[in-house]
Amino acid sequence: MTLWAPPLPLVATGSGREGRKFKGISCELGFLNMAAPLSVEVEFGGGAELLFDGIKKHQVTLPGQEEPWDIRNLLVWIKKNLLKERPELFIQGDSVRPGILVLVNDADWELLGELDYQLQDQDNILFISTLHGG
């Protein structure tokens, strides 16, 4: 696991942890405030796959970044990288269009905090469209 130097000046003894919001994965040598690359499976069903070249399952590796990955960021990423056409049929504002269900590991995302749920490695996120005609 690599250590990324934080952008702010750090006291050498590691006490820079004080006053800084702790995020991400820590290792014994210090702490990380960047999310490591995540490998997740993104699935589409109910006609939503039509917007993604007809491919239902995508195994994606999300690059490491400053903030941890949550569904909100994932949607932005999907819009930029996976969505082939008609973004307004999938995304509305910063969430999915009403009528599209989101399941994380086969559980309703409403139980997990909806957009604020933080992704874990090897999660399965499924988007099912219940709209007529996808």
């Binding site: 069903g45 139980l111 219940t130």
Partner: protein, 462 residues
């Protein structure tokens, strides 16, 4: 009435809507059994675990059938399957329901129909053949007799589709109970008769209609190109997507009813879910079909005489259906429809769907409120069979014919004036107040379109 995004003076808070009660609390346990890990949230804040959700879902299906008591034991029922999630779920429920132990087993005899609408949607023949092959694969695993018909066959329908055969009065509860009791007795005697062989519970049903000998209707090949061409032209000539969708729906219904009649099915089950019916209700109002709301969105639709259309999935929301299909691996096939990838404002249906679902996201009881309203719609009794001309598109008495109900003192004349589906007494009083109809309706008068509102008023008793 609240509108999504409307500004009430002080700026609405930006960002996600305020947390709904119960959802953000993230109860770690199922609300029903208090033990399991919840996987799905139904309604506003009820978290169910997997097993409780399954029990809840299946129970709802059985309860809707049991409460309405329309399907008699041994009856032949045609399941209209489009491949989509709701109808697949319905077929699956029927499959499971038939295979239970004898006390709780469903007792009717099902068949499945799939209508290939590729021509209306502009699909190429190869795509259509591929889709039909996929459907066939699934249909063959079901074990019911199945029928695959192409929409082009609607050209071959005889006018008998419109014939209103003598309607049997909907049996009282006593009739249903008597039928069930006699059926059970029959089963029992059959079981004791077959002393030697294995008296499996399905033997009784097989006597009534052996599934092996019932032919499954397979299209001999793709329909003739001329018919496909004609159908494409027909749909091409319809200008708006709204009209196309309504037209497609009508043709499909006629075709399914025709198949049901020719093969002796007395009931047709469609997989309209709660969400779809709520959208349908609002769309019908917008399209001027208010008079038929009770039949269009109710549990049963008896307008077609001998074949009754039944909607057993009307208590299930699309969310529940989608979750059930995912959690319990119900096979379904997605086929592009006539409005796939259509933008939001392409048709009244899409617009209404977008409106209701957006409202639902902010106010989770929207769909159930609309649904409950639809339950209160009362079907006005018919005065016998309509003697007048029937509307080809709506399978109901022609619009002009509905006025005879108002002229109670006039004898039913052979003009388009028989068979009023509206409430006679009340509507007459109401009509006398309204302008267009005037105080009394002489026989020769044709109604203005404005009188449709009085029909809707007569039909809705909240």
């Amino acid at each position: 009435m609240c509108q999504v995004g409307e500004d009430y003076g002080d700026p609405a808070p930006e960002g996600p809507p305020p947390p709904r009660p119960g959802l953000r609390s993230r109860e770690p346990k199922c609300v029903k059994c208090k033990e399991g890990v919840p996987v799905v949230v139904i309604r506003a804040g009820d978290a169910f675990c997997r097993d409780c959700f399954r029990a809840f879902y299946v129970h709802k299906f059985r309860a809707v059938l049991g409460k309405n008591r329309l399907i008699f034991p041994g009856e032949k029922v045609l399941l209209a399957w489009s491949g989509g999630p709701s109808s697949s779920s319905m077929v699956w429920q029927v499959l499971e329901g038939l295979s239970r132990d004898s006390a709780k087993r469903l007792r009717f005899v099902p068949g499945v129909i799939y209508v290939d609408e590729g021509a209306a949607c502009g699909q190429s023949p190869e795509d259509r053949a591929k889709t039909v092959a996929e459907m066939k694969l699934i249909l063959q695993t079901l074990g019911f007799p199945w029928h695959i018909v192409a929409l082009e066959e609607v050209f071959g329908l005889s006018p008998s589709v419109l014939r209103c055969s003598a309607q049997e009065p909907v049996g009282a509860v006593g009739t249903y109970k008597v039928a069930v009791d006699s059926f059970l007795q029959q089963q029992h005697t059959l079981g004791t008769e077959r002393a030697g062989g294995s008296p499996s519970p399905t033997q009784g049903e097989e006597r009534l209609s052996p599934p092996g000998t019932q032919e499954s209707q397979d299209p001999a090949g793709p329909p003739p190109a001329a018919q496909t061409e004609a159908l494409s032209r027909l749909f091409g000539s319809v200008k708006t997507l709204t009209a196309k969708e309504e037209f497609l729906h009508t043709l499909r219904t006629h075709l399914i009813l025709h198949v049901a009649r020719t093969h002796g099915y007395s009931k047709v089950m469609t997989g309209d879910s709660c969400t779809r019916l709520a959208i349908k209700l609002m769309t019908s109002l917008a399209l001027g079909r208010g008079a038929f709301l009770a039949w269009d969105t109710g549990f049963s639709d008896e307008r077609h005489g001998d074949v009754v259309v039944v909607r057993p999935m009307r208590d299930h929301t699309l969310k529940e259906v989608a979750f059930y299909n995912r959690l319990f691996a119900v096979p379904s096939v997605f086929t592009p429809a006539i409005d796939t990838k259509a933008p939001e404002k392409a048709s009244v249906h899409r617009l209404m769907e977008g409106f209701l679902l957006r409202l639902q996201a902010q106010f989770p009881s929207t769909v159930s409120t609309v649904y409950r309203t639809s339950e209160k719609l009362v079907k006005a009794p018919r005065d016998g069979c309509a003697a007048g001309p029937r509307c080809l598109l709506y399978s109901a008495t022609a619009f002009g014919a509905q006025t005879s109900g108002f002229s109670q003192t006039q004898p039913p004349t052979p003009r388009a004036g028989a068979g009023a589906p509206t409430e006679v007494g009340g509507a007459q009083d109401r009509c006398q107040g309204a302008g267009p109809c005037g105080s009394s309706v002489p026989a020769g008068r044709t109604p203005e379109p404005a009188s449709s509102s009085s029909y809707a008023m007569a039909a809705v008793r909240t």
